[in-house]
């Protein structure tokens, strides 16, 4: 286990380093430099000089990178260009709704995806099973901005079943809070759920068609035991492997969901940062999200090694 962890670190640490470089590059590739972008094309050299000094943009690029990364390691992401506040203070209030939407979205995708995927695998020879499989094919490719605007329009604006006008914090009323996040969570989960269904189904089908399941059937093992004990066990591995991918998908869709449902999350912050040309905040958010995805995949790998005896053996 320890050896596996160390081996993964050899891959994770260079990746993390490159992620910081990529996020930093966002500032470097701005046409005309950050000060120009900040001032919206004002050409007063004194103002530009002042801005450059204030944000340390007059120093060599590598020095800027080192001081930026030094700050990041101490939890200081610099000063937001748009608000003049520390970036941390801009981002922190956005975490609550994001963690909630992405977290619940992940739970819904995994639970629904595994249940429906198993169902589709067991019923693979029937019309229902084939229909579910075909529908999941559509589900992975349907654009979230389209289904979310359609659902928000139909269930929110036209029928008034669920609110679509923003996020209600839980301390303003639990029921109102749950209502405000229901549609965002269900919609953000559509592609990841469909993706999970497809993978669980194919892993289950492979297991159900395998010689050991055939042997178990011949020995008179009950269907329920075969499905849950033998086949599902083999379908869990792939699910854990792609949890980081699901997280990354969910965060990508968050940008859309935050905009459509007017949620105060990181997705909205990214769009705001772009509109207000707040590159310090933009860098920080991109970095945080990427690091979160890398950490998740490290954890997923460790969990997989812990629960799968074949992997444990392969490593040690």
């Amino acid at each position: 286990m320890m050896r596996m962890f160390l081996r993964r670190l050899r891959v994770v640490i260079p990746t993390l380093f490159l992620i910081t470089l990529l996020s930093f590059m966002l500032r470097v590739i701005i046409p005309g430099g950050p000060a120009d972008a900040l001032l919206g094309g004002s050409d007063n050299p004194d103002t530009i000089k002042m801005i450059n000094e204030r944000y340390g943009l007059d120093r060599p690029v590598w020095e800027q990178y080192l001081s930026w990364i030094g700050g990041v390691l101490r939890g200081d992401f610099g000063i937001s260009y748009a608000t003049g506040l520390p970036v941390v203070d801009v981002i922190a209030p956005r975490l609550a709704s994001t963690l909630e939407i992405v977290g619940f979205g992940m739970v819904v995708s995994l639970v629904l995806g595994m249940a429906i995927g198993m169902f589709a695998a067991i019923k693979r020879e029937t019309r229902v099973g084939r229909f579910v499989f075909a529908a999941s094919g559509l589900g992975v490719s349907v654009p979230v901005f389209w289904i979310s605007t359609m659902c928000a329009g139909i269930f929110g604006a036209m029928l008034g079943l669920l609110p679509v006008n923003g996020y209600v914090p839980w301390f303003s009323g639990v029921s109102a809070h749950l209502q405000s996040i229901t549609m965002p969570v269900l919609l953000i989960a559509v592609p990841p759920t469909a993706f999970t269904i497809r993978h669980v189904r194919s892993a289950m089908v492979a297991a159900l068609d395998s010689p050991y399941v055939r042997a178990a059937r011949a020995m008179g093992v009950s269907s329920a035991r075969i499905h849950f004990d033998l086949a599902l066990r083999n379908a869990v591995g792939p699910v854990i492997t792609f949890i980081p991918f699901l997280a990354s998908t969910l965060v990508g869709e968050l940008v859309i969901i935050d905009v459509v449902f007017v949620l105060p999350g990181l997705g909205a912050s990214i769009v705001d940062a772009v509109h207000f040309r707040d590159f310090a905040a933009l860098q920080a958010i991109v970095l945080l999200l990427a690091v979160a995805v890398v950490m998740l995949s490290l954890i997923a790998d460790l969990v997989l090694t812990a629960i799968d005896p074949r992997r444990r053996k392969a490593v040690s």
């Binding site: 891959v11 260079p14 990746t15 993390l16 490159l18 992620i19 470089l21 990529l22 966002l26 590739i29 701005i30 046409p31 559509l138 490719s141 349907v142 654009p143 979230v144 901005f145 389209w146 605007t149 359609m150 928000a152 329009g153 139909i154 604006a157 036209m158 068609d209 010689p211 980081p244 990354s248 998908t249 965060v251 990508g252 869709e253 940008v255 859309i256 905009v259 459509v260 990214i270 769009v271 940062a273 772009v274 509109h275 040309r277 590159f279 933009l282 958010i285 991109v286 999200l289 990427a290 995805v293 890398v294 995949s297």
Partner: protein
Amino acid sequence: MTIAQQITTGRTAPVGKRTRSDRVLTPTVVFTLAVVALVIAVGLLAPLIAPFDPLTTNSGNTFASPSAEHWLGTDQAGRDVLSRLMYGATASFRGTAIAVAVFMVIGVPWGLAAGYLGGPFDEASMRLADAILSIPGLVLAVAITGVVGSGLNMSMVALGFIFSPSIAMLLRSNILPIRRADYLLVARSLGVSNLRAAFRHVLPNAFAPVLVQACSLASIAMIVQAALGFLGLGVNPPHPSWGGDLADAYLFFTEAPFATVVPGLVIVLAAFSISRIGDALRAWLHVG
């Protein structure tokens, strides 16, 4: 299906008939090819065949229902929805083509070099691929577009860059087994240069899965492009784009739900068709 497979799976293929999975030009594939051909044709011919100018507003005729004059009605500014969709096809097709060109131009040499050369370049460039892929695609696309400025061309170049590691990693993993192939050893011992061996012997044998992957990335590119348009970062308004028009129409959903439904359906149909062509290609090229 081989005899051994039939015995182990207990299923039999009809004798003397090609099985369903062997057929490439199924009705679905023909349909999807037709859809893609239609989108490209409409995109290229939009200025000739669009019934109205997509930018001409008419404040006296907003949210008109479909009629003989305006087949799909008009939008909030009284512009012809069908004409805007046709011009939107131009933007969508051009944007997807830019993204595909960029990720192939970056991804193929990258994957070829990483897989064939191996060593420190392989190691370093694959970490870079990990780093790029660990940033959620839409987040990176929005960030880069926000930095370099919105507009169709730049945003699709950014998207092509973001997708290039997928191509590079796939090509690299397909090249690894070829490096030990006998024919490569023979070619090298006959004095074929490294560069020639890479392009003549390695690349063609590892390329089929890349084509399949390119189709599915093209389909995602089309959707992401629409998503960027939806966020106001793609084609600059008031010029027509499927995503941007959908965002505009959504603001007036209760007045004219039809205007949100139609661009969305067009995006879904076009993107789905491209990905189905990828599936057909997979079957035709016998990619696993």
